[in-house]
């Protein structure tokens, strides 16, 4: 069976790959959106923290003999803790300044983290095995579905939707949304906003670390994996609308799929299609597809 001259198997395979990539875009841009919303900081160290998540999984396996499921639990907490320290010691000093300062600081932090990891581990990739429970593939009849990839898509979706639910539908989320609009007034109601900001940054960073652990068995764990993906993720954020929660999830998955489709029909453009879309969106809707003008 063929669709526009492309075998269905190949098309579905690329769509699945696109969905997997889109899951990572969604998780990473969601973290960026949460952070930007409350902190007004464009977190350029997000890619490096994602890489730290993957390395945390690899190191736990290599040095402690702890497997994937432990990593999925411990790595986000550990890397999120690093985020809390970064917020406490450095970012906190920048809130009253222009966005640009936060961007420059976090960019510098990213370079330092990557430099340390390159120095320690070199630039070659470290293999990380797929956990035994998720090895193999399932034959769906119309295509072969690798179990681990299906898991990545499902796990990301669950995490993204849970985050969306908490922010849009709960009382804690109401604090966050209100804090995004007017943090001083929220604090005047008796809420410890500085602590909320610190934990929010830690949470956004933990999302990046989760993405890193999920990615470890798919790509080679290496110090540059963060900078490879983060540029696309920033394009996703711009397209979705800076700070929009739902926008980052939908746009992340959608652009992953579009990339996959482009790979099938015009492979040469697959690496640039996201940026073409970004340019068009910026021209037509500068606040992004889901963004509000500030």
């Amino acid at each position: 069976m063929e669709v526009f001259g492309v075998p269905l198997q190949a098309l579905l395979g690329q769509l699945l790959l696109g969905l997997v990539n889109g899951s990572f875009y969604a998780l990473l841009s969601l973290g960026l959106a949460v952070i930007f919303g409350l902190l007004n900081i464009i977190n350029f160290s997000h890619g490096a923290l994602y890489m730290m998540g993957a390395y945390a999984a690899w190191m736990m396996m290599e040095y402690l003999g702890l497997g994937y499921w432990w990593s999925l639990l411990v790595a986000p907490i550990a890397v999120g803790g690093v985020g809390v320290v970064i917020e406490r010691l450095m970012l906190r000093r920048l809130y009253k300044l222009d966005h640009l300062y936060g961007l420059l600081l976090t960019f510098g932090i990213a370079l330092i983290i990557e430099g340390v990891y390159r120095d320690q581990f070199g630039v070659s990739g470290q293999p990380y095995p797929v956990p035994s429970a998720l090895r193999g593939a399932t034959n769906l009849g119309f295509m072969i579905l690798p179990n681990y990839r299906a898991w990545v898509v499902v796990a990301s979706l669950v995490i993204c939707l849970a985050t969306w639910y908490v922010i849009e539908r709960t009382r804690l989320g109401a604090y966050l949304r209100a804090g995004t609009e007017n943090p001083r007034l929220v604090q005047a109601f008796g809420i410890n906003v500085p602590r909320m900001v610190m934990l929010t940054y830690g949470f956004g960073v933990a999302l990046a670390a989760i993405a890193g652990v999920l990615a470890a068995p798919i790509i080679q764990v290496n110090p540059l994996m963060g900078s490879n993906i983060i540029i696309v993720v920033f394009a996703v954020v711009v397209i979705g609308g800076m700070g929009s929660i739902l926008g980052s999830i939908v746009t992340g998955l959608g652009l992953g799929l579009i990339e996959g489709l482009t790979r099938v029909f015009y492979a040469e453009a697959s690496a640039t299609v996201v940026f073409v879309i970004m340019a068009v969106v910026l021209l037509l809707r500068p606040a992004g597809l889901f963004g509000r003008e500030r």
Partner: protein
């Protein structure tokens, strides 16, 4: 009076960055009192309310809330002592529904009004509870801004220009609300431009000029003080 004042300011100074806005405010408000700060625009009335909660820049002097010194406390700690603040710009959150706005401020003390009692006082808010906060009319937003601090148990209310820009019938409703609050034992500090609204409600009135309290008197002295007020306020 032997009891601890609900609020006591001594030599309060405050700055916004380089600009020195309060130059030594002295003000004592007893429990259960309704007081009004009068003065021209820029006299420092709004800044006084903001400084009490640490919403200005640097502060100096003394601020005692229910006897506790808070000049060095952070904003949320001061609020937790039972201070409810209704800002001049109302501060209704656009990303929250009417009911989410109402439920937002956490309880700071026991004994706040129940949601039912609040809806009984402001029936409009019940009807509009699923509407986006900023889709409410000006009057409804003002009611919401006050209502949400009644739920928290805060017993010292700082109300900034709550009658501003509202239709007379709503202003009348707000005046009734202040009387009800007074009957319930709340302590209220109002900043008001609308003299006709504020004067009949207040137990005492304070006049501010150039970042200081320059005159204070009880409601009973109001008639005798009118010529002075004309001079200060140009009313």
């Amino acid at each position: 009076m032997a009891d601890t004042p609900a609020l006591e300011l001594r030599g309060l100074q405050a700055w916004y960055g380089e600009s020195h806005v309060l130059h030594g405010v002295d003000l004592t408000v007893h429990k259960g009192e309704v007081v009004t700060l009068l003065g021209r625009n820029g006299a420092g009335r709004t800044s006084t309310l903001r400084a009490i909660l640490g919403l200005t820049g640097a502060r100096a002097g003394s601020i005692k809330v229910d006897g506790a010194e808070v000049i060095n406390a952070s904003t949320h700690q001061i609020a937790r002592l039972g201070v409810g603040y209704c800002p001049e710009e109302r501060g209704i959150f656009a990303s929250l529904s009417c009911e989410e706005n109402l439920m937002l401020p956490p309880e700071v003390r026991s004994g706040g009004m129940t949601v039912e009692a609040i809806y009984a006082m402001f029936p409009n808010l019940r009807e509009r509870r699923t509407s986006q906060g900023t889709r409410l009319s000006g009057g409804e937003q003002q009611m919401l801004a006050v209502a949400r601090i009644l739920r928290t148990g805060a017993n010292l209310l700082l109300l900034d220009e709550i009658s501003e820009g509202l239709a007379p019938v709503i202003v009348q409703a707000l005046a009734n609300m202040i009387r009800q609050l007074k009957a319930l034992g709340y302590t209220v500090v109002m900043v008001e431009q609308n003299f006709r609204f504020a004067a009949p409600l207040a137990d005492r009135l304070f006049v501010m000029e150039h970042g200081r309290v320059v005159e204070q008197f009880a409601a009973a002295e109001l008639v005798a003080k009118m010529p002075l007020l004309h001079e200060y306020l140009g009313v």
